[in-house]
Point group: C3
Chain length 430, copies 3
């Protein structure tokens, strides 16, 4: 029976110890201190806001964590259908013995207090890692992160580069760059020198990826040469965001291309997260303002993929309508890999459709099944559980039943995309 | 067992008394008089035409209804696979005791005669409403509709505004506007005055929504001020369709934006039906000429959603590839709601994919599950039945089985999107 | 039970004798001579290359077929999840009694030798046709193919026109055209004369279709008249690829439109395969360099569909996101038919979604279910088997179970789209 088969496959996938290849964990404070850290996750605040809760109630300055949770709980009923809500309940059940299937004004306080007690334990972080069977998590580090004070074999550095590509117009970003690298940037050459220092620093600290999120209209092109580079750097360094759009775009493209060159030289995969428009809804809550235009194509990255055969590009797409292109590009380009189910595509219907399409057509070695994208450690458990249930469903229905595979063979495929490919694709420096 | 579970959920959803939140019913003649009213629905004529039946055979002027049905029946076999054909058979079975599963040259005439007899009964309209468990239906009223002669608590007025936004270039539309409002329009101010009169009239008559269908390239923008408004109105009022494209576009945007302002002031939701290109196939049958370009994005409505936080925008998209954007925008914007499954997306495979994606990620209070879009009352029954079967399937498979929900909880979610949200989102004036 | 129902339907569909309406078979050498002909298919070479095998290892000049197979087998493990790999195993099992479920360095050689022995049999081609229940296959013939030396009732000619529309700038293509037709082209009139000769030749030899693949940005338009035609032909005939982009585009559109006119005059369907970008990855293996931009719309063909009501356009789309448009256009335009599941959409998840959407909304007479696109005869068996399994699944789940159809009725629908419509839509000249 398909249901029992799914359960068996899930149980086995669920027993694997894994690395989470993309998170926003703060390595100095990886786990939650109260339920407010969990319920303050933008998925809950933005959904509560979208369902009618005023932003001012959610983001009142200086609000006590317990009061914040109380307010959110009062506004959760309209979201109890969502998969994000199910993550919350699964966390509460798995970590804190919560026995209800909904969080209500009647039952939240006991959960809050239990969670606070457990989270206060010295080894809470280790408990969460162990219960979630996490061997490591990739971070998302600002380019000027000192990368100190934590175990980089568990909390694996990753150089996030959005600021460098898109925000050098801001004086504080330029200052951060010069401070972090000790390089006084003024032209193409010194900019390259500064970027190189970042790669030195990150790879010395064990970084295993470079990453960036990109808007749907971004289409990187080969830089126009030294003179153009000097011109673009000069203009932005002098005029900041007042430099002409043309110069700023040229600088974006120049920095992006230079990052790809350093990824090649330092042997780092370059995670591309393609498709987000920032601040589409400025009235939204913190981190709940971004949306997208799904009219994007990987053809925009054609020159890049051709120019850097030595760089692996693990790619995430924001919209499911781009997933077929992703599967096709990974099927043709040796340096393109599929990477997880990102953000607005991280819900079961899209994951099922997208993961099945990839499994059928992309070499098994090039698929990174899932990452949690979490800000607090507790989220890996329910998010990966969601993925593992869907993966088990696909393996059961499309491999064991439809294609006559043995359970063992199906499980080996699942293991590879869930666990093994992370090590294979992001080996780090040995 | 999943099949029995689906059936149980369907039976319970099917017992609910509902309001249909979007139709093209003529309140003065809501039900059919003969089978020709049913089979004259564009779904049958356009499919028969697409399958080879000449338009002249279908639209012969003055043709007798019975002869029209006879001709169509002769051309129905090629469509008997379609879901639209299944609506026809389900109607024939439910309303007229038809016992076959296909309508053929051999069996149509008895059905025709039975239907004609029943439709001639005084209370046929009430019978259809009762059998379909319809408590009310939203209309699609021309802006100059007197809204008289019917019970507006059952046939709920809705101000349709395509003519105002897109066709003020036509002299007859301008004349209708001036006649309906008594305002001699000549500039921005008088145009606003005229539009305001329409909102007065409609809301006094119990209208609960304003609505419009929009082409894929429409991207509304904030008006440019009084002088520009006067210029655009002046040009179109003087030159009609011969006014420059620029002026006509400005007027479209001005009217659209003004409608949104009145929706805010009169507290009416503004239904946006996004994505249709009119008259793509001018050789097609009546209402069977429109198609679309699926390259459309809700990012085009970004300024609108931000500018009118007080207006609810129930949104329908024509193509399933836009559905993920719709779900995402409703998940972020408090004023965006998902609305039904429109036209070319109103077939089971798309409904299942699109509805599941919404249920998983959009607050349950913001989803209007379905509307029939019907022209004759008899269509609500089979169209809603199709939707309810799919909704039952999603609830059974994705909630009860995959997520361990109780049947009661799943049913409550189904009830909310099928019935309750219509009242919540379109409250009308109290 | 759904699984048994699917199997029963599959068995019956699998027993039908069919015509394959689109292949790249070389009629003078239709079947394979060694396993290298099968494993040299671009699906295997490009996937092996994408998984890391160097192109030079795959395409070493003069390499022995057996050595080529040996090398590929060593690199197949990373693809053993793909549906394309399953075709290989199914062929090996069905034709050569292979008893394993994977092809490995340990077991390949025995298969190679067995295959070579069987393929060397005089009647191997007939054996393959019989075992695959193929009554005929459509070819893809260059415009200057003499169409001699084979039985055109089994190997049915099809005029492929990519070279004419897109490559007349190349001197060798112009020479081939003049040589094949005996017409010295110099202006619009002589070009039309030459094209007409091709239609004479092909239809005399039993051609049943004209076909072309088109890039995503192609949008055919009505030619601008004789003077413009003379100008475009003159420029390209004098300057070749150095003619201005404008003239070359005009010539493309002129030739395309003229082909449609001849399709009308000679009563040939015009297969449009929409959406491919050629040579996106020039470093890829032979035939493994093309990809696409999924931002394409059938609205680009609006003028064409309106201008040629007498021409049937069987349409294939490269990306599943275009499938809904295809279904909608076929539901409205009498001259648009849906045609198979092309290339990057020829994998189970996309086929299931796309075929279901078509079956529900397009008249059953206008759907060509599947074609193999094969280069060697042995591929029809596993590719059609994949399609038939999915078709059986859709018919079982969406017709018999969801809509209460009898198995017989479902089977008749399957038979029509799998077999009968090919004869109906491509009747050939009688």
């Amino acid at each position: 029976m398909s249901q029992e088969l799914r359960n068996r496959l899930f149980q086995q996938l669920d027993s694997l110890e894994i690395i989470d290849p993309h998170t926003h964990i703060n390595a100095l404070k990886p786990a939650s201190e109260t339920l407010a850290d969990i319920m303050g996750y933008h998925y809950y605040t933005e959904l509560a806001h979208a369902a009618g809760m005023p932003r001012a109630r959610i983001e009142e300055p200086g609000i006590d964590p317990k009061e914040k949770v109380r307010r959110l709980v009062e506004n959760l009923a309209p979201l109890d259908n969502t998969i994000q809500y199910s993550w919350l309940i699964e966390m509460a059940q798995a970590f804190f013995g919560f026995e209800h299937d909904r969080l209500t004004p009647e039952n939240w306080e006991a959960l809050y207090d239990t969670a606070a007690r457990q989270m206060a334990q010295q080894d809470w972080e280790r408990q969460v890692l162990a219960k979630s069977r996490l061997r490591g998590v990739f971070l998302t580090n600002d380019f000027d992160d000192p990368l100190q004070g934590f175990d980089t074999s568990v909390y694996i550095p990753c150089l996030r580069t959005d600021d460098l590509v898109f925000h050098l117009g801001k004086p504080e970003v330029r200052q951060r760059l010069e401070k972090a690298t000790g390089v006084a940037v003024g032209d193409g050459g010194t900019l390259r020198q500064a970027l190189g220092k970042l790669f030195d620093h990150f790879t010395q600290k064990g970084a295993r990826a470079c990453a960036i999120s990109l808007p749907p209209d971004f289409a990187p092109t080969v830089p126009h040469g030294h003179a153009a580079a000097d011109l673009a750097v000069g203009a932005v360094w002098r005029q900041g965001v007042d430099a002409s759009a043309e110069r700023r775009t040229e600088l974006s493209h120049l920095v992006f291309w230079t990052l790809a060159e350093f990824c090649r030289d330092y042997r780092l995969p370059f995670d591309l997260m393609i498709g987000v428009n920032r601040a589409v809804y400025p009235g939204g809550v913190y981190q709940g303002q971004d949306l997208y235009d799904s009219r994007v194509s990987l053809i925009q990255y054609r020159e890049l993929f051709n120019a850097f055969p030595e760089v692996t590009f693990p790619i995430s797409v924001l919209a499911s309508v781009t997933n077929q292109e992703l599967a096709s590009y990974a099927w043709i380009f040796p340096n393109v890999a599929t990477n997880g189910h990102w953000w607005y595509s991280n819900t079961p219907t899209f994951i099922e459709h997208d993961a099945a399409a990839r499994l059928e057509a992309v070499p098994r070695t090039k698929q990174i099944g899932y990452y949690s994208d979490m800000y607090k450690l507790e989220f890996a458990l329910p998010k990966f559980a969601m993925y593992k249930r869907i993966l088990a469903k696909i393996l059961a229905e499309r491999y064991v039943i439809d294609r006559g595979w043995s359970e063992e063979r199906a499980l080996a495929l699942g293991t590879q995309v869930l666990r093994d490919n992370t090590e294979r694709i992001f080996p780090g420096r040995k």
